[in-house]
């Protein structure tokens, strides 16, 4: 089973000190051979997109758009998850109407007012070796139920329409609803 284009939602009992506590992750790659990759959608870093743009010699006028903490690996990587009508130099379509970009040109384009219809920008990402994610989701040793993930189908509204803890609450609700629907 592939969880590509799905959301991973942290278990409500995951300890608060975990970086993944109350997190919602969008998985844009899940492959039995190469592993799984995604980004946390609902945790802010301390930096704004404006700050990032200025550090690269550009100007992005919105001072409130935060860079998200995408995850604990490749923490210096800037990655943009966005609607798939927009392109930068290394944009890769990931399905479900979404795409991923990670280059300096995307920041230059944003600074010129050329933005995707919907987007979020992350610092760092999450990765799992082949088989690891299935073990976590199924709470298979050495993972426990607290470390496991709820899952649900991703759509534009849940990916881009919410933020912070409200995004996690909405995702939990969506996951429960989709689970109930699958029984009937």
């Amino acid at each position: 089973m592939s969880w590509k284009n799905k959301l991973l939602i942290a278990h409500p009992n995951l300890p608060r000190h975990s970086i993944f506590s109350k997190s919602v992750i969008y998985l844009y790659e899940d492959n039995t051979r190469s592993g799984s990759v995604g980004v946390i959608l609902n945790k802010n870093s301390e930096y704004t997109v404006n700050y990032l743009a200025e550090s690269k010699g550009f100007f992005y006028p919105d001072h409130n758009q935060m860079l998200k903490l995408g995850g604990p690996v490749s923490e210096k990587t800037i990655l943009m998850l966005h609607s798939d009508e927009w392109y930068s130099s290394n944009t890769m379509q990931v399905g479900g109407g979404l795409a991923v970009s990670s280059d300096d040109i995307m920041i230059e384009k944003l600074s010129m007012g050329n933005e995707p219809r919907q987007w979020t920008m992350c610092l760092g990402m999450c990765a799992w070796q082949p088989g690891q994610l299935a073990m976590e989701i199924n709470a298979q040793f050495p993972y426990t139920i607290e470390n496991s993930w709820l899952t649900c189908e991703a759509d534009d509204t849940i990916v881009f329409g919410y933020d912070g803890e409200s995004q996690w609450e909405k995702a939990v609700e969506l996951s429960s609803q989709q689970m109930i629907d699958s029984f009937f």
């Binding site: 190469s34 592993g35 990759v37 490749s74 990587t77 990670s102 990765a127 050495p142």
Partner: protein, 53 residues
């Protein structure tokens, strides 16, 4: 292009080595998790290489 393939090859070799080393440790031990962190870092790097190739 040659350089990019070389980097990919080197990442893959390192990944195989780490997975083999992880198998020698006790599942769930701190050494096992430590290998897992390194492996996951390489998985992310490999994805970024693919994105930029």
């Amino acid at each position: 292009m040659g350089k990019s393939s070389g980097t990919q090859q080197s990442t893959d070799d390192r990944l195989v080595l780490l997975v083999e080393q992880q198998k020698l440790t006790k599942e769930g031990s701190s050494a096992w998790y430590s290998y897992q962190q390194e492996i996951n870092q390489l998985i992310a790097e490999r994805y970024l290489l693919m994105l930029n190739s």
